[in-house]
């Protein structure tokens, strides 16, 4: 598949695991950014089809980043927000920030791949 995916997450191990699973699922074009600001910049330059965004980022609030991504005219991508610990309040914030999905991090990335696949299908 020629879909471009951008991962914005400051945890290098998690990013590596996600990249590996995404590639196994057939998505070869993976970009990464380790903080919100560089993530937004990369999204503006590269225009990915989908952005995977961690709720916890070192420099900015993850939900803010989501809002910026969704409101920018230069960026036209799906957004999937990721968390290590699911939280109902966060889920609401994510939805209100415009995210297309909110999933939990697991060692097999099952939920993530599922979310990515269904967003690209529908």
């Amino acid at each position: 598949m020629n879909k471009k995916i951008l991962i914005i997450d400051d945890n290098l191990d998690d990013t590596e695991i996600m990249t590996r699973h995404l590639k196994e699922a057939g998505y070869q074009n993976i970009l990464t950014a380790a903080n919100g600001k560089s993530g937004i910049k990369l999204a503006e330059d590269e225009k990915p089809n989908l952005v995977i965004l961690d709720t916890l980022l070192p420099d900015v609030d993850g939900f803010e980043v989501c809002r910026s991504l969704k409101s920018s005219e230069r960026i036209n991508s799906h957004v999937v927000m990721l968390t290590g610990a699911v939280d109902a309040v966060d889920a609401k914030k994510a939805r209100k920030a415009g995210t297309d999905d909110y999933v939990v991090k697991t060692s097999d990335c099952a939920a993530l791949i599922c979310a990515v696949n269904s967003l690209f299908k529908g």
């Binding site: 699911v86 109902a88 999905d101 060692s107 939920a111």
Partner: protein, 558 residues
């Protein structure tokens, strides 16, 4: 806009100052909110489910790793020991001048080598010991023995060393002699370890005291020294593996850091406790407790008591059921049954129980010469009943042989549950014993008094049952609720309430639905009810021809 929401909820009156358009906007907005909330709930739930699965995966992985580690330790330890034996043998031969004379320097060097080999062997043995203990592959060989006997035996071993270091060794056995039930070799191992430590960390001229204190169910043994003590930071880590303290102070061989960990594992196996008190430079006292040798039933009570204490201390309470199983022989010649046969049968029973009650937390203990106490974790009365029945089935195929006589074996049972039947160990055991020995209660419901009486006489003749006869369906239901029979025999044709209806009501009642039922009828069973009643579901007895079969059925069920 919130104002509108609030006023509707608080005043419960229709807001007259709003236009329909405004209200409609409000409704649309609220609908969107609900959609969002639904989405949020769904996503949160999905997340929780996945995280739970993840947790289970990780937990299983941890268990596998633990098992791997244990396996590794034991394999490696064995492989390491063999070459060491060879090394030691060879070096000893040379040092002992068996292979020819050697000079002093050579002898000193070889002594050092032997010392190191012994130390290495020690470490490996300790590692192996510990891995076996942790893997639960150690079975205690318990016996009843006297504490002073063991203490003196160990102290003798250390005589030369305490003499050479001018350490005074006292024994405080003020309390009366008591028997403890423990694995003698393992207790010697613990005492050796503790006393060696005490000597290691006590300077010249110091004093070590070994003593015991007796209480109702256990004996506490302590080893006290006037040595360098233990820092408060180190106290909690004392019984952890590979931790060593105060290595810089005091002479003597370096330890392996495993001794105390091994002691703790052994004490845990005995259901005892081990702990230490100490202050830097003010000496230390190491205590450990062991169970006293008690009569079987007292021992059972004590174990139950400990188990209940552990249960009550947990955040999440769950059930514990006590099941007493007693062996009875089916032929009247009881006096012919010797002790050996009883013991044999009891062992047989224990094996049968172990086959059925396989939960790691389940325990089987001897309660008396013919009775076992089984503690079933996370099991309710119905579960215990099922276990008892399965065990009975297993035991029915065994036969006891005394001389040329063969006796069929049966198993009686008594059940008591925590917390439903109470929280006191003795009371629970008393209740279970009562249930074990009482006659089973049978309720007969039939509107023909002759039939009922005939059946009652038949049953009471065996002297094993307490029979009540009721002639009416409604009254029977009430009686069952108050009396809780062990078995009910119902006639299908009853006035006011039909037998089918009565059965239906029983099956729907939370407490009564598990009571077994036998159906009596004078004619064939109604088509509609053949599923509920009839072969496989509830046994049907046709009166009066079926009466001789009824005892058979009852034996099966009870």
């Amino acid at each position: 806009m919130n104002h509108t929401k609030k006023s509707i909820i608080e005043n419960n009156s229709f807001p007259a100052d709003r236009t329909p358009a405004e209200l409609w906007e409000e409704i649309i907005r609220l609908r969107k909110e609900i959609e969002v909330d639904e989405w949020v709930s769904r996503k949160t739930n999905e997340g929780i489910r996945l995280l739970y699965k993840e947790l289970e995966k990780k937990s299983q992985k941890l268990q596998e790793l633990d098992q791997l580690k244990s396996n590794l330790l034991s394999t490696v330890s064995h492989e390491l020991r063999t070459p060491l034996t060879v090394i030691r043998g060879g070096v000893a031969l040379i040092r002992n001048q068996t292979l020819g004379k050697i000079n002093d320097d050579q002898q000193d060097t070889l002594n050092d080598v032997l010392g190191s080999v012994d130390r290495l062997t020690n470490i490996i043995n300790n590692l192996l010991d510990l891995s076996k203990l942790e893997a639960g592959r150690v079975e205690l060989r318990t016996s009843d023995f006297n504490v002073p006997e063991v203490i003196n035996e160990v102290l003798k071993l250390f005589q030369p060393e305490v003499v050479s270091r001018s350490i005074r060794l006292d024994v405080d056995l003020a309390s009366p002699p008591t028997l403890i039930c423990a694995d003698k070799d393992k207790i010697i191992q613990i005492l050796t370890n503790l006393i060696a430590n005490a000597i290691k960390f006590t300077p010249k001229g110091g004093r070590i005291t070994v003593g015991k204190k007796t209480s109702e169910f256990e004996v506490e043994i302590f080893v006290k020294d006037t040595g360098i003590g233990i820092a408060p930071n180190d106290l909690p880590k004392l019984f952890h593996k590979f931790e060593q303290f105060g290595r810089t102070a005091g002479p003597g061989e370096k330890g392996t850091g495993l001794g105390l960990a091994i002691c703790k594992e052994i004490i845990d196996l005995h259901d005892g406790e081990i702990w230490a008190e100490s202050k830097p430079n003010q000496g230390s006292v190491f205590h450990f407790t062991l169970p006293r040798a008690l009569s079987d039933d007292l021992m059972c009570q004590h174990v139950l008591d400990l188990t209940l204490k552990k249960l009550k201390g947990r955040k999440i309470q769950h059930l514990l059921t006590i099941l007493l199983l007693r062996i009875t022989f089916m032929r009247p010649a009881h006096s012919l049954i010797e002790k050996e046969t009883n013991d044999e049968m009891l062992t047989c029973l224990k094996d049968s129980v172990r086959q059925i009650a396989t939960h790691p937390m389940d325990r089987v203990l001897k309660f008396s010469s013919d009775t076992l106490m089984v503690l079933l974790d996370r099991t309710d009365q119905a579960g215990a009943f099922a276990v008892a029945n399965k065990v009975r089935h297993l035991m029915k195929s065994k036969k006891a042989h005394v001389g040329t006589n063969e006796f069929l074996v049966d198993v009686q049972y008594g059940i008591a549950t925590y917390p439903n039947n109470g929280g006191n160990a003795k009371r629970l055991l008393d209740l279970a014993t009562l249930e074990l020995t009482r006659k089973k209660r049978i309720l007969i419901v039939d509107d023909e008094p002759d039939i009922a009486k005939e059946l009652r006489t038949l049953l009471e003749m065996t002297n094993r049952f307490e029979v009540t006869c009721i002639f009416d369906g409604e009254a029977a239901f009430e009686k069952a609720k108050s009396d809780r029979p062990d078995l009910m025999i119902l006639d299908i044709t009853l006035p006011r309430m039909s037998g089918y209806e009565l059965i239906g009501r029983f099956k729907q009642h939370r407490d009564l639905r598990n009571i077994p039922i036998i159906v009596l009828t004078g004619h064939s069973v109604d088509e509609d009810y053949r599923d509920v009643i009839g072969p496989g579901a509830i046994p049907v007895i046709y009166k009066p021809e079926g009466f001789d079969k009824i005892l058979e059925h009852i034996e099966e069920i009870l």
